[in-house]
């Protein structure tokens, strides 16, 4: 998908607002100009009509020849014409300029030419009126509007830039709280105080959503826990009853296989419940006694515990441990990791060579010889993945290890090299030395 550009909400609203303002400015400018033009025309017509009237009355009274030029209005040109002009020939308008020597400026003016009849004679009358004042006033509408708009743009952008931090502080705070929220952390969420309606709405929604999630989550957890617990007593009963059957010789002669299966499956179910419960607890972060642990003595302890067991399968365990290696992890979880990795290597290891447990300053490595995996290696850490030869296995050991590494900010990798399965544990973001 094409990446879409993203904008801040405030920039977006500002942009739209400014476009709207621009349109409004232009619109009102055009309207005002139009009004001004109408006004100018009306005003001029008014003046022209007065001049026309005055001219006509002077000529009527005085007669053309005797008409006292002094008495005629100024700024007119009057010419007798022989006959009545056609209806639609007049009036005509034309624009002109007049040089005003006193001001040394050229002013705009407008002529109106009309035909009048006065004293029984037709005249062509051209009246000139200065319109510079009017027009420059009219043009000022746009001339002032542009700087005003620019000022507005600059002002709003600057204001937004300065104020967005202030207005959006509660919003960003709410976002921070949302970001740091983890399911099942139980702590009461801080409520950001703001009088912005939208932020409050969002916050309230967030809180009610979290409450619902927490509730669902609690139910689910209780269910899982109860499931795992309540299963165990009936399973204990089944196992004990099966034990009784095993003690019964005649029974075993006939139904040995069936009893064996019941016994094994009961054990399987019981371990399944316990392990799933453990994974749930780890996911919930219930093991948070994180301490820095020098791994060497602990690894040695685990290796000693399993060495004889490995020996029974003709496997040997070599260790190369350094005191430098430390992990920050809950000690109980470290036990589970070591137990599972060692158990895994003893279960799948072949006697082509020793099981090796190595630590360097940064890495913990457990490797064993064996034929390569048939499946893709990334399946290894999936829940309920198990090698075909070990159908009775829970298939949870390595996913348990992976889960622990995740919550302890460690990374675990698997590699198959020169006939060896190698598991390596590193601190997050570090490269093997």
């Amino acid at each position: 998908m094409k990446k879409r550009h993203e904008f801040k909400l405030l920039s977006k609203t500002t942009f739209i607002y400014l476009i709207f303002t621009l349109v409004a400015f232009l619109g009102s400018g055009l309207f005002l100009t139009h009004e001004a033009n109408e006004f100018i025309n009306w005003e001029l017509e008014h003046k022209y009509r007065r001049i026309e009237y005055k001219t006509r009355s002077v000529i009527d009274r005085e007669g053309r020849r005797t008409a006292d030029l002094e008495k005629l209005p100024r700024n007119i040109q009057i010419m007798p014409i022989s006959q009545a002009p056609p209806e639609d020939a007049y009036p005509t308008y034309s624009d002109t300029t007049i040089y005003i020597s006193r001001l040394e400026e050229t002013w705009r003016a407008r002529n109106k030419t009309v035909a009048i009849e006065a004293g029984g004679q037709f005249y062509r009358l051209t009246m000139t009126e200065l319109v510079e004042d009017y027009l420059s006033l009219r043009d000022d509408i746009f001339r002032t509007m542009l700087p005003a708009f620019i000022l507005l743009v600059v002002g709003i952008v600057a204001f937004n830039f300065l104020m967005s931090g202030y207005f959006f502080r509660p919003f960003n705070k709410i976002l921070d709280i949302m970001r740091s929220y983890k399911v099942g952390q139980r702590t009461n969420l801080e409520k950001v105080k703001t009088n912005t309606l939208e932020f409050n709405k969002m916050q309230d929604l967030f809180h009610s959503m979290i409450n619902r999630i927490e509730q669902d989550y609690r139910h689910l957890r209780e269910y899982t826990e109860n499931m795992a617990h309540e299963m165990q007593t009936p399973l204990a009963v089944i196992r004990n009853k099966t034990d009784n059957l095993i003690a019964d010789e005649s029974m075993m002669k006939e139904h040995g296989k069936t009893v064996k299966t019941i016994y094994e499956e009961t054990n399987h179910l019981s371990r399944l419940g316990n392990t799933l419960n453990l994974i749930t607890k780890i996911e919930n972060g219930e093991f948070d006694n994180i301490t820095q642990i020098e791994t060497r003595p602990i690894i040695e302890q685990h290796v000693d515990a399993i060495r004889e067991l490995a020996g029974l399968k003709s496997l040997t365990i070599d260790t190369d441990l350094t005191e430098e290696h430390r992990l920050e992890i809950d000690p109980y979880l470290l036990d589970i990791v070591l137990k599972n990795l060692l158990r895994n290597s003893v279960m799948y290891g072949t006697d082509n060579g020793p099981i090796r447990v190595t630590t360097s300053e940064k890495t913990l490595e457990v490797s064993n010889y064996g034929p390569p995996m048939e499946d893709r290696p990334d399946k290894l850490f999936q829940r309920f993945y198990r090698n075909n030869n070990h159908q009775g296995s829970l298939g949870l050991g390595l996913s348990l290890v992976k889960k622990i590494c995740e919550v302890s900010k460690l990374q675990i990798t698997y590699q198959y090299e020169e006939g060896q399965h190698i598991f390596r544990i590193l601190r997050n973001g570090e490269m093997p030395a």
């Binding site: 196992r239 004990n240 095993i246 040995g256 064996k260 067991l309 029974l312």
Partner: protein
Amino acid sequence: MKLLIVEDNEQLVEDMERFLEESGYVVECAINYEDASEKLWLYSYDLVIVDLGLPDGNGLELIREMKNNEVAAGIMILTARDAVEDKVKGLDLGADDYMTKPFHKEELNARIRSILRRHKFDRSNTLEVEELKVDLLSSQVYVNEIQLDLTRKEYDLILYFMHNPDRVLTKESIAEHLWGDHIDQADNFDFLYNHIKNLRKKITDAGGTNHIQAKYGMGYKFSTQNSR
């Protein structure tokens, strides 16, 4: 030896009672907190097995009560909850051991023995079955007074058998007793055979009889003259 089982599941109580009586204990049962509290007030026991999840109270409370009343009995916690906090809390309160359901009865038996010995209720420091004798203090095993050279696990193994004579111990039970959860249950436990073969050989080489027999591919039985 007098034991009190505090557990609300009747089926489980019945089985445990039968099993522990067969092992030579005098067993009484309480199916709830009140019952247990009363019995502990009236009688004295050498060991109390407490289930944490009781219908009318928490087993941890019962342990606290026992400690407050200075009840001298050993305490074994039995619970369906495999929670580390409970385990730590229980042991902190003064419980001697902790087992999670479902458990192997033979394992329970072995652990009860060890608690009783620690509390000196069981004054004998030796365990004898026919020609075999175990010195529990020095962890040595003798066949007709000839000392056997056993590994640590072989010693644990023979002791487990001798604590539970004439019973079929499943391979799972044995493996779990010896290696705890270091062992994956998916293993077919064939390697146990080598272990037991070695032990057998050491005993017969010293002139002992072959007590340990395989049973239906499920486990082994340490048989005494009673069953032979």
